[in-house]
Symmetry: C2
């Protein structure tokens, strides 16, 4: 089978966060599949077909792209951030597992990208400089009980936590509930970072503390980082630097 | 103060994993600081000074680079992977916090990069497609007790785990001990991925399972990913695909 499927991470908003490999893969594709706003970030090329779909249609998009590649085409699925982190790569794998047997023989390449937590962390300093976890607050695909258990385990064990999908129209209360849970386990001074639309003109990065962190600061374009007991804030002109030291002392762990 | 310091992530081995922003920052710098093998990956430019240092000299390197920038120079610290993940950004922040007050006024930019776990995950499929954590096995800077507590908490709560610094000459036994701990808590069939020197000519990616995973497969250039109960392996021609589905069922959580 001569078809090829690339799952391409284009990073968060800033076009300069594209890797050279992702740029080459987008240029080489005969057809692009993706969520509309991500496709809009890829320059149009003559002769290249573009198939935009809704954010909630990941499995349909995956099947369409795989089907097209299986016909022998060179297809790219465009993913925001890194395709492997709460994005399209898992949907493609799931579609391959449940799809027709020839899809398993397809040449599939995953092209990594800058995930949102790395971009937000870079703006703030180095909050992910020590052990951390990434947790999606979307309860479309798992129960809220599982999410609560994970965030408590992470906080108790001393992991910094990056929250993906902290809020959506269908999930207005989850982030406030997560903060409330964490307030029972972490000091009120624990740093909290809201990174909204990083790399885009409307970017805002807010540094606050757990006792006063307001879930209403976050929307669908926001990634939230909650520090561990070890995370520190350095006051300086402008926005402070937030970092988690490389050394864990017993007190901080 | 007119100096500027950029902490630049150049990704793992493959030069095509450089972002356009990182490339521009490296070109604009008057002086580069970094671990020798990382500097070797940056093309030489006339008039650009290069200060190579040993891997264990992170705090000295940070202080030297900050001191140089404070004199008004445009300085770049070159970091492998992403500078914010077990790399130079936290060392720079720590040096700023403990250094002379003028360093706090310096213009500092962290430039994100492809972290090793994203590159290894991309080679394997989508093992980080659901909640996961990143844990350094280096006990130079934290006690082994803290590491054990964290890996058990992560496994019990259903996080996939990416191990950074799994082994070194001074730490020959830690990874085997971590596998042994995890075998008591996770099924023997749990997928384990060894990604060695990804993006370089000597790259090897091995997919195995927890019951037979051999710590001797890893060296200093290896990143190890251990799946959760939900992580799946899809057999196909060549290396299998490994992924963690976006949906967590109660059984898998």
């Amino acid at each position: 089978m001569s078809g090829h499927l690339a799952v391409v991470g284009i990073g968060p908003g800033d076009a300069r966060w594209l890797t050279l490999e992702a740029q080459a893969a987008l240029e080489a594709a005969e057809a692009l599949y993706g969520y509309g706003p991500y496709l809009d970030r890829v320059p149009a090329r003559p002769g290249q077909a573009r198939h935009a779909s809704d954010n909630r249609e990941e499995m349909h998009r995956a099947a369409d792209a795989l089907g097209h590649a299986a016909q022998g085409a060179r297809v790219a699925v465009v993913s925001g951030g890194d395709p492997g982190v709460f994005a399209m790569a898992a949907a493609i794998c799931e579609a391959i597992e449940n799809g027709p047997p020839p899809w398993r023989a397809l040449d599939v390449t995953i092209i990594p990208g800058i995930s949102a937590m790395l971009a937000v962390a870079a703006r703030a300093g180095a909050p992910l400089g020590h052990d951390f976890c990434a947790l999606s607050l979307s309860d479309n695909l798992k129960s809220w009980d599982v999410i609560e258990r994970r965030l408590e385990a992470a906080a108790d064990a001393g992991f910094v936590i990056a929250f993906y999908n902290p809020v959506s129209r269908a999930r207005p209360w989850q982030l406030a509930s997560a903060f409330e849970r964490l307030r029972r386990r972490l000091p009120g001074t624990t740093p909290v970072i809201f990174g909204r639309a990083v790399g885009r003109v409307e970017e805002t990065v807010t540094v606050t503390s757990l006792d006063v962190a307001d879930a209403a600061t976050a929307d669908m374009a926001t990634l939230v980082i909650v520090g561990s007991r070890a995370t520190r804030v350095i006051a300086r002109p402008g926005r402070p630097l937030v970092y988690t030291p490389r050394a864990a002392t017993e007190a901080s762990a």
